[in-house]
């Protein structure tokens, strides 16, 4: 792995730093067009992505994962907050221009089909980005073919095909190739493997691993599959209702979750051990709507450990002792301690 000439602050400087990022969608207006209710899709989140790492983001549906990704790409205009890319603020005067930022940060979408223009050949789709940034036609096509090769598709056979002529796994490779065509440093993968079959998912995960090594990429990996996130990520961030619930080193976080929500999420994974079955559900009810948020901790209505403090005061994301592990829970320590014991919710099967 060579060191990237675009690297500015060295390894110590996070590649991406997000501060107080916020997006509220107005979903209902009154007769005069004033907002009546809003979805607090992303409600002030802070995190950073270090150079060369893979940061996993997990959370239930609607917790704001995709919104976060789209805000980072500036596909949505944030309502507040700062995005700093390798030391440069993005989109502000004197900072990194959107265009330049987009060269360095790219995204792969969940729906492999919808994210390819059905009227463009694979080659054209991949070459489009470089062309936009001024690379000549011929050269961008060559680059496209090289990338096709790199994602494991024979250029001769695939370059001239249309998206509908490919399988889901193949299309997702094309999407990855397209994202790589601009030689980004950070790749956001928004549920990039969720729609794939397990057997194909493994192929793509391997590919991602290879590419990361080859190009020294940094990944922001969004998924709701805890197993996959655990497999691929160095660090994991758990989101709940537009907020960060917990961030930490992947292993540490899985071993000793410090937020009751993370814990619940983990015990909700179906057991894969033969003969062991989950006996009680860790959480009741559906994930709530991020529209009318309760005061205090937004998890407390579903939280088994909630106390009055939780209902009254919203917990801050705080570093836990030991460093590197942050949790937004008043009772983080207790939670961590509780998990050290064997999981109570899984028991020997009756069989």
């Amino acid at each position: 792995m060579t060191s990237d000439p675009r690297d500015r602050g060295g390894r110590a400087q996070p590649l991406l730093r997000v501060k107080g990022l916020r997006k509220h969608f107005v979903i209902k207006r009154d007769l005069l067009g004033r907002p009546l209710s809003r979805v607090h899709a992303v409600d002030g989140i802070d995190f950073e992505v270090r150079k060369g790492e893979t940061l996993g983001i997990v959370g239930e549906s609607g917790c704001g994962k995709s919104t976060t990704a789209r805000l980072l790409m500036h596909l949505l205009q944030p309502d507040g907050g700062e995005v700093i890319f390798d030391g440069d603020p993005v989109g502000t005067r004197g900072g990194l221009s959107l265009r330049e930022m987009r060269r360095q940060m790219q995204m792969v979408f969940q729906n492999s089909y919808a994210s390819l223009n059905p009227r463009m050949t694979i080659e054209e789709s991949i070459a489009f980005g470089p062309q936009v940034h001024g690379v000549g036609r011929r050269e961008s096509r060559q680059r496209a073919r090289r990338l096709l090769d790199q994602v494991g598709l024979l250029p001769e056979r695939f370059a001239q095909r249309y998206p509908h002529e490919l399988s889901g796994g193949q299309r997702q490779r094309i999407n990855i190739a397209r994202a790589l065509a601009l030689e980004p440093r950070l790749l956001i993968l928004d549920e990039a493997v969720s729609a794939l079959d397990k057997s194909v998912e493994a192929q793509v995960l391997n590919l991602l691993g290879d590419l990361k090594q080859e190009y020294g990429l940094t990944y922001l990996f969004i998924s709701h599959d805890l197993n996959v996130v655990r497999y691929i990520s160095d660090r994991v961030m758990v989101m709940y209702l537009g907020k960060v619930a917990e961030v930490g080193d992947s292993e540490a976080l899985y071993r000793a979750p410090a937020h009751p929500y993370t814990r619940a999420l983990m015990s909700a994974m179906p057991s894969l051990e033969p003969g062991r079955r989950t006996q009680t559900a860790p959480l009741a009810g559906d994930p709530p709507n991020p529209i009318d948020l309760p005061p205090g901790c937004r998890f407390c209505p579903r939280c088994p450990l909630a106390v009055d403090l939780c209902r009254g005061t919203e917990p801050e994301l705080a570093v836990l002792p030991g460093g590197g592990h942050l949790s937004a829970c008043h009772r983080a320590a207790e939670v961590q301690a509780a998990v050290s014991n064997p999981q109570p919710s899984v028991e020997e099967s009756v069989r």
Partner: protein, 342 residues
């Protein structure tokens, strides 16, 4: 918990092997003819299901799981579907049923839960009405009684403030809630067989587990047989007694859930087990199954998995392997079973 007796029946069912299985599928073939192409979705499936047993059909997308399931109720579009073989449920020949018999059978003997509960409800009727209507249909009761039953069922599937929810339209329910309602609907006439087509795939992890637990509990209570379709091994492990693995329209391996998960024998099942990403494998390459499943409009002549199989040889690409008994009801269809024994 209703009674221990029920629980025990369910648990003992697969071993006791009563005289007649509830479901018996023999050599089922399903072909679709569209103007553009011919799809051979299911190619000779044999399957038995004992009363009170929970079977999971596991397989990749397009392997024919849903089609097999729908064949059990003859729900496939009549005009373009060719169904051959035999399907017997509760002693009745499903493929030979008249329209009348079929509609008595559906919903009463066998009921179904769908993957996208939101889409499986008629958007312009309240959920209560849709349940009541089924009860009315099969039990000839009035709408009032039907609604009363619906209320009972809503309580049973633990929908909070059930009475109010009955008057809701489907789009007003959340994903988990509507799947519960769907289950209530399926159970409304106490079916003997419950068919569930990936009922939890669209749901969040925390909700999925609730639904799985609910299904498990209800199955035990009512002593139903369940056929459950999924591609998630974990879900299969949570719910089923037995697993049947499907690949390209055929069953490739079946057996008790523990056996298949612990000692899979078919190379495809093996591949699936080993390609799963998990924390332990962090930093290592996954041993993924190469390639993609075959195109069902032109399936290969021999073993459909041969092109992706690390053990495949000439035989595999030429002839179709039959099911071999591996003991204890564990069976697999492969020429090279010798190589896959651990």
């Amino acid at each position: 918990m209703k009674s221990d007796v029920m629980t025990r029946t369910a648990v003992q069912a697969p071993m006791a092997a009563p005289a007649e299985p509830l479901v018996e599928i023999r050599d089922l073939h399903v072909h679709f003819g569209t103007p553009w192409r011919q799809v051979q979705a299911v190619n000779g499936v044999d399957l038995t299901l004992a009363r009170g047993e929970v079977l999971t059909i596991l397989g990749e997308s397009g392997s024919g799981k849903s089609v097999t399931l729908r064949s059990l109720m003859r729900l496939l579009p009549e005009r373009k579907t060719r169904l051959t073989g035999s399907v017997r449920v509760d002693g009745q020949d499903v493929l030979a049923m008249s329209r009348r018999e079929l509609s008595r059978f559906r919903g009463r003997t066998a009921a179904m839960i769908f993957q996208e509960p939101m889409l499986a409800f008629d958007p312009v009727f309240t959920v209560g009405d849709q349940i009541a209507e089924t009860v009315c249909r099969h039990e000839g009761v009035s709408r009032r009684e039907g609604l009363a039953r619906a209320l009972e069922l809503f309580d049973r599937v633990r929908i909070p403030s059930a009475k109010r929810r009955l008057a809701n339209y489907p789009h007003e329910l959340s994903g988990g809630m509507s799947q519960r309602a769907m289950i209530a609907l399926a159970l409304s006439c106490r079916p003997k067989l419950l068919l569930a087509d990936e009922p939890t795939t669209a749901l969040d992890a925390t909700v999925q587990i609730q639904i799985l637990l609910l299904l498990r509990e209800l199955q035990r209570e009512l002593g139903m047989s369940v056929i459950f379709v999924t591609h998630d091994m974990g879900v299969a492990n949570e719910i089923s007694d037995r697993i049947a693995v499907m690949y390209a329209g055929r069953l490739v391996e079946t057996g008790a859930v523990d056996t298949v998960i612990a000692q899979p024998r078919h190379p495809y099942t093996l591949g699936l087990m080993h390609s799963r990403a998990s924390g332990e494998l962090r930093g290592q390459r996954l041993s993924a199954i190469p390639g993609a499943p075959p195109d069902m409009s032109a399936p290969p002549p021999g073993c459909a998995f041969a092109p992706r199989c690390p053990h495949a040889d000439a035989t595999c690409t030429q002839a179709l392997p039959g099911m071999s008994e591996l003991g204890d009801g564990h069976r697999a269809a492969c020429w090279r079973l010798g190589e896959t024994a651990s």
